[in-house]
Amino acid sequence: MNALNDNHPPHASDKVGPRWRIFPKTDIKLFLLLAPITLLIVVFLIIPIVIMFNKAVSGDEILAAYIEVLRSPVYINVFMTTLKIATMTTVLTLILGYPVAFALRFGKPKYRAIVLMLIVLPYWLDFIVRSYSWMILLGRRGIVNEALLWLGLVDRPVKLLYSLGSVVTGMVQIMLPMMILTLFAAMLRIDAKLMDAANIHGANRWKSFTRVFMPLSLPGVYGASLLVFVTALGFYITPALLGGPSETMISQSMLLLASELLDWKTASIAGTLLLFVTTILVLIYNRLFSIDRLWGGE
């Protein structure tokens, strides 16, 4: 996918940091187990980020370069588009995903396995394949347009592809499993007895949900939304394939800057700014809810 949504592996690995100082014998095994992934992350993630960061903070007139980027309407536009698309994707996956996660939480276990399977199934298809599938569906003579024409709802094919709608549609489809699974994991940690307790003390199903279940699911909602949002910020292929020029997202600009215009400095600055925004969001969430809880920690 992209480098930025891999923010958590280094986060996870610094948990073992303090243990190294003590270095009891039993931890050598742990160290060896963690060594390959640590090496991989350091070489292919940390070092590139440091290099990028270095490019983005050193050199002559670095401040002027930042000011130029931040004042340029082109980059501001791309930033705003990126935030807009990521926000829309997050809100839509949440609206679509919450009921599914809820149904999974309280559904019969035998159906749960099937539905989970169906949710994970798209992961077996490559990103690009899925984006191309949307091109086939949403194209000028695509299935959706043909259907609309046949039904007589439109006179001529509608422009569906290369629009904000098609980009968000594609991204929602890709991000939905992550939203559902994260919400489901969070909901599993809510004791079902609490709903019984609300119920027997006079709350009907709806009130049991609004007064008890929903408030308790909010940390999960924020966490899942954060994950989806941060991941969506760094999307590249989907907007490239399904979007038009006005849906250009920041990763696309960075690639353009780096590989075509060979302006590594501006690309690095854009990357650093994105990393900055992402880190701030994660820190705020962590401050409010402790990110470990999403994965089952307390």
Partner: protein, 374 residues
């Protein structure tokens, strides 16, 4: 109909509901969890459902609560059928085993929850009622805490307060003391009994702890394999259990195996494997001669006597100091008989010596032995 809209400002008007279970049945898959259970629970009484896990006691409670619906039979509150009334309209209070306190609400909001859901009570009156209820469970001043800031015992009290605040006419308790340590459990047993007397509601209490049931209940319902094994007052069940299972489940019991020799409607004779003969009163139908049977005696009803005055003789295996008494364990017919006796009784008693045991014949019973039973 159970009218629970609890605006009634006079607690004394709040009397318990009478509950009737009429041929209630519920299966899970092929398992009959509750099998044709019929029972009358008098208004305002404290009834314990006692039994091992899987005996159907919790399923019965869940049927009363309305979390599950019976596939046959009916539940009646004060004579009115309610098994198709949704849970939230039944006007019941409940204390859960895990307490199930709302973790995102303060103690006040937890306790006020039933009032907010069930009535249009004014804010000031609600505050007063919550404060009164918290005082009753001795948690005055804890209103603004969150459940996670409380100890297990305090959480238990909050759960009690939440269940009681709307003055329900029926209160269900599902092993509410299971998570507490013994000392706190003993204390809470007395408090719960006390609260029951004060509020006058009907309490239905589920437990697998026979001591709890004996201490608190007006009536005990012993359940087994989805059916009622025996129902009655604690004393009836303890002194005169209906069968081996109830005898064994409620407190320590001597159950000594033998065979029926003869019997009529009043008395029957049982012979132990080592040839000793004992006579016990007949309850119900006399057992057929030749039937394998058990002689039932409570350890505290058995006394040590000189051999010539004894009903049976046995060899002392162990003498255990129990604090308030001594337990003498002896071997008879390759089985164990135990007696609770005082310090004076064991004077001169030695392990390996033969002693005589005696008891009041009226307090002994003979039960048909069950396959696989001890």
């Amino acid at each position: 109909m159970l009218s629970m809209d609890t605006d009634t400002p006079h607690p004394e008007e709040n009397s318990g509901a009478s509950v009737r279970l009429d041929a209630l049945r519920k299966s899970f898959g092929f398992v009959r969890a509750v099998n044709d259970v019929s029972l009358d629970i008098p208004a305002g009484s404290f009834v314990s459902f006692l039994g091992p896990s899987g005996s159907g006691k919790t399923t019965t409670l869940n049927l009363l609560a309305g979390f599950i619906t019976p596939e046959a039979g009916e539940i009646l509150f004060d004579g009115a059928p309610i098994s198709h009334q949704p849970t939230h309209k039944r006007g019941i209070g409940m204390v859960f085993q895990s307490y199930a306190l709302f973790p995102h609400m303060t103690v006040f909001d937890n306790v006020a929850f039933p009032l907010k859901m069930r009535s249009e009570m004014e804010k000031s009156q609600m505050r007063k009622r919550v404060a009164e209820t918290l005082a009753m469970v001795q948690l005055a001043g804890y209103q603004d805490r969150y459940p996670r800031q409380l100890s297990g015992g305090q959480q238990q009290r909050v759960a009690m307060a939440r269940a009681l605040v709307a003055q329900p006419r029926l209160l269900l308790m599902d092993e509410p003391l299971g998570a507490l340590d013994k000392k706190l459990r003993d204390q809470m047993q007395i408090e719960i009994k006390n609260i029951h007397r004060r509020v006058g509601s009907t309490f239905v209490y589920v437990t697998h702890d026979q001591n709890e049931a004996l201490t608190m209940s007006d009536f005990i319902v012993v359940m087994r394999d989805g059916a009622i094994a025996q129902a009655g007052t604690p004393q009836e069940l303890y002194d005169f259990p209906a069968d081996e299972f109830v005898a064994d489940f409620l407190g320590g019991a001597n159950l000594i195996k033998g065979r029926i020799v003869s019997g009529d409607a009043k008395r029957q004779q049982i012979v132990l494997d080592d040839g000793q003969n004992v006579v016990a009163p007949t309850t119900g139908m006399p057992l057929q001669a030749g039937t394998t049977a058990s002689l039932f005696l409570r350890p505290e009803g058995v006394s040590l006597v000189p051999l010539e005055r004894s009903k049976i003789s046995a060899e002392v295996v162990e003498i255990v100091y129990m604090g308030s008494a001594f337990r003498v364990i002896a071997s008879v017919s390759q089985q164990v008989i135990s007696a609770m006796v005082s310090r004076e009784d064991i004077a001169g008693l030695q392990i390996g010596s033969k002693v005589g045991f005696n008891w009041e014949e009226e307090r002994s019973r003979v039960f048909a032995s069950e396959a696989g039973a001890p």
